[in-house]
Symmetry: C2
Subunit: 418 residues, 2 copies
Amino acid sequence: MGNKLHEIGFARLTPLEDALKELIFHVKLTPAEEVYTNDALNRILAENIQSTFDIPPFERSAMDGYALNARDTFGSSPKNPKYVKLVGIIEIGEIKDDLEVKEGEAIRISTGAAIPKGADAVIRIEDTEIDGDTITLYTALVPGKNVSKKGEDIPRGFTILKTGVEIKAEHIALMSSLGCLKVKVHKKPAVSVFATGDELIEVGTPLEPNKIYNSNSPMMSSLVKLYGGHVAREVALKDDKEVLKKELLKASLDSDIVIFTGGTSVGTKDYLPEVLIENGTILTHGVAMRPGSPILIGYLKNGTLVFCLPGTPVAAYVCFLSMTGLALRRMMGCITMDPRIEIHATMERDVPVGSMGYVHHLRVKIEKSEGNYVAIPVKLKGSGIISSLTESNGTVLIQPDQEGLKKGERVPVKLHPI
Amino acid sequence: MGNKLHEIGFARLTPLEDALKELIFHVKLTPAEEVYTNDALNRILAENIQSTFDIPPFERSAMDGYALNARDTFGSSPKNPKYVKLVGIIEIGEIKDDLEVKEGEAIRISTGAAIPKGADAVIRIEDTEIDGDTITLYTALVPGKNVSKKGEDIPRGFTILKTGVEIKAEHIALMSSLGCLKVKVHKKPAVSVFATGDELIEVGTPLEPNKIYNSNSPMMSSLVKLYGGHVAREVALKDDKEVLKKELLKASLDSDIVIFTGGTSVGTKDYLPEVLIENGTILTHGVAMRPGSPILIGYLKNGTLVFCLPGTPVAAYVCFLSMTGLALRRMMGCITMDPRIEIHATMERDVPVGSMGYVHHLRVKIEKSEGNYVAIPVKLKGSGIISSLTESNGTVLIQPDQEGLKKGERVPVKLHPI
């Protein structure tokens, strides 16, 4: 049955894992570019970063207090204090090479200031009292106490960050502390987003009978941004083969990825498979997953990847998260292709699977219960139902060989990207 | 001991929870502004969004197939098929009010197209065969099968999103499907970031002896951006009371929040407490947490919040995540003040606490082990050690009344913000 299905090779569904392997094999890295470290948040490193000096670069105080010889504090306690003499002050950033601490002496020192010659510990100001130049010590210190050693954090020559890392606030701090003004990151892949369908009306214009507002292209553009891509264009197109072809070829000139939503299944006006066959190569048409099985993936002669995702919003969303998004991040050399955080939760109820052989993407709402997470399946009302996404926080995968999930079963949940 | 401590009220440490309550009480919401829905990713809604019509707006097909009367399929199976006659085609977006399906008839229909009069179900094309105008039906359908009811996703007048929600890709899809061109969101709080300290050298200039590169202000700026704020300025300042005062007052003219790092403890050059007393009101100085206890929070006469965070990077980071970031998100009316995801993990080893009475922020690295997460404490080398952040993925809180954590204990872990 369904001879049109056979024509376009859609009847045989590719396992998700195989489709993904094939896709990743065809991903080409974007070139590197240099950006200011301070602008590199959420970019992907395209080089290893090595420390060019020790951090800290000198022995420094970890506390506000007095630098002294630890042996001068030995035996001191609140009931049996010892005494040293204040002989100077060292502020943060000051260089006082002439200042030296001798036995029975101490130098006032601030957190971060260089430890003076002769001193091997810092007593906290809270553990002392001062009267004139006499300092009373109320506690005993071991040598090295409250002193940050040179290179203690990071020794010179150490690889502190590796290529493929997504740069976070703390990485920016680390690179800044090493004096890195600029870093090499992979260029953001340029992505063109097209929603297709004669039924689509642009947001901002009046709704007409039997038409719907285009919600797919804004969603895809947002996902592209979240995943680190650059939206080259976002347009809604009519179901017209010549238009689709023209726009695809135009987009291929400046895009690493082209995403279509709609027009990929076996509807009478689904021209995209033909357009792709005529202008490039099909990698996969039809993947054994639900929702999202009609997905079509291919590439053009210049290497531009083309994703034709189903027009139903939930299916388009799931396809982006399972395939397109991973390719996008792989293009930037990202170590972690899937940026979603995985938590563990207990199934709130049974979820039987109607048809095995598919990876099912079950949308679940996560709730806390007694220090644990519970995964509540969101009522399935079809893949067109956007509220099944907004009501859920994550996805549970049901594998092709699973008959479903049981109440009480522990499952990994991939949280929706944020 | 430590009379300077007493002077500035630092000796009494405020419990973290109390300090946070006091802070949140002084947060004022930023005004709302209208932005295009398509540009609203990660912004915070400042209005409830209601659907102005049913979604779907009409009864439509959820599959590619034939619209027909379900009763014409009753009893059919691959071995005992039934037959109907093809009488027309309805494409997506087409209006064919004259077309009606009678008993024994069917109309070819695409996913998303309007169900014609007389039909109450759609048989999938895969479950049929066609020869001329005769359609063979291989499966039986219940009425309503593969039909998306009008208003099934969202009925008209329903509140689909509430004020205070952080807008994600799926929310943009949902609002677009309702024709929302623009939405009201809270303005991004303007934040001025100042690193203070005579020891600081700007990245991009040569390192001098006993000096360090300024890594705090780039880190704070990145965190401000991650949390949804707008960085008004980012400057490193010398430890000079007049400079600090001048810059603070200048920043207060255009900033909702001013962040200083450094200069808040009891070092000899820690002028910020004085500056804040003379120009505003101190809310809290000294919080019972580690790292981060020297934190100073106050506000100026015009309401600008001032955070003076410790100069050691890890302490500054922890203070931002525990206090400043929450105030920033609260300013935008965010329901979820803390954006960090909490997972549960098993402690890999004992972590005794030296001094009780503090909330300890333990940095941990999360690893997977047999479908579970294990929390491995990152070697503590002092709060100046940035690598304790980059080597960790999250934080475990040890409460003031806890003596520590035990190996094998289940703990909640707040993942670092991404």
